[in-house]
Point group: C2
Chain length 191, copies 2
């Protein structure tokens, strides 16, 4: 009787997860502008005020969704951390391409609250992984250029992700080499 999702009850299981799932679906299918409180709750089959006990307000909900993003990104990066910057960069950009809406949301500080404890924690964990990786590279450089090297690497990876989401890399691809896939381009760019 008790199915996985008991939809009929007044309290239906965990609305928190349901709202996050609805928000994510709307985000990836219709973009960030579709992330209204009413749209999300309507998609979850619930009244527009039902999100309040779980998230407080819309920004709280979107911050929780961004938290999921940081956690998933960390989970994707962790297995390849030992393989070096090239592999990590590839996974980073791939994550952005596969979850463009979520990735974009994670950096929209006007819509999410970066002081939210859970979000700040997930963010710190993820960026700590990257910082440690970057620190392990080129340790024998003169100290003056170390920070520059880190910034360059980080900037390149993040910039490629943003450009890929915005479709600039496809422009680069189609304008020139024909037999080149996006994966190949990233391989070369991250070398």
């Amino acid at each position: 009787m008790t199915l996985h999702k008991a939809k009929k009850t007044y309290h239906h299981g965990d609305l928190r997860a349901g709202l996050l799932s609805s928000a994510r679906m709307l985000l990836e299918e219709q973009g960030i502008s579709a992330l209204g409180l009413r749209a999300i709750t309507r998609h979850a089959g619930v009244s527009s005020a039902a999100a309040t006990p779980h998230f407080g307000n819309l920004m709280g909900l979107l911050s929780a969704l961004a938290t999921v993003g940081y956690e998933e990104l960390a989970a994707a990066l962790e297995p390849v951390l030992e393989e070096g910057a090239h592999a990590v960069g590839l996974v980073y950009v791939r994550f952005a391409i596969l979850n463009p809406g979520l990735f974009t949301l994670m950096f929209r500080s006007d819509v999410i609250d970066r002081n939210e404890p859970a979000l700040a924690a997930a963010r710190a964990r993820t960026s700590g992984m990257l910082t440690r990786l970057i620190d392990s590279l080129g340790g024998q450089q003169p100290q003056r250029t170390q920070a520059g090297t880190r910034a360059a690497l980080w900037g390149k990876v993040h910039g490629l992700a943003v450009l890929a989401i915005d479709g600039f890399l496809d422009v680069l691809l189609s304008s020139q080499g024909e037999g080149l896939s996006l994966e190949d381009l990233l391989e070369d760019a991250l070398r």
Copy 2:
């Protein structure tokens, strides 16, 4: 009599420029979320419907503001185009740091309309300058890696700009070398 700005008249000079100026001030001082139609028109001392004849709607106004951004960026890049990628990258990132709100707006496709003719033209002009510059570099490379090199360079510069706006570079700076300025860091990173 006819001063530069005749404020008292019913039609006051060019409201179009006045609204763009108000929007820009609000943008840089209070962030993108302060860019409401009512806030902008109120700041310009005009009714909330006064923007309609000039811009159609809010998205039209913000698209025009982003157009200004692309034009200013192009004007800043043009004088250093001959000096190579390093100088151009530096100017690019400096522009982002000096106009963080405007730079961010230029890439927020949910708030501006990229099909707006003037915006599309300014955008094409600016990115054409960068494309030509990138094409002039490393022409003797094997063609397979050419697109990769372009993407890497473009990604690095744009990524550094985004990271700088988000404050990540300051984190990198303060966590390590003390006697390093942001300019020095960018110098090294863009090498």
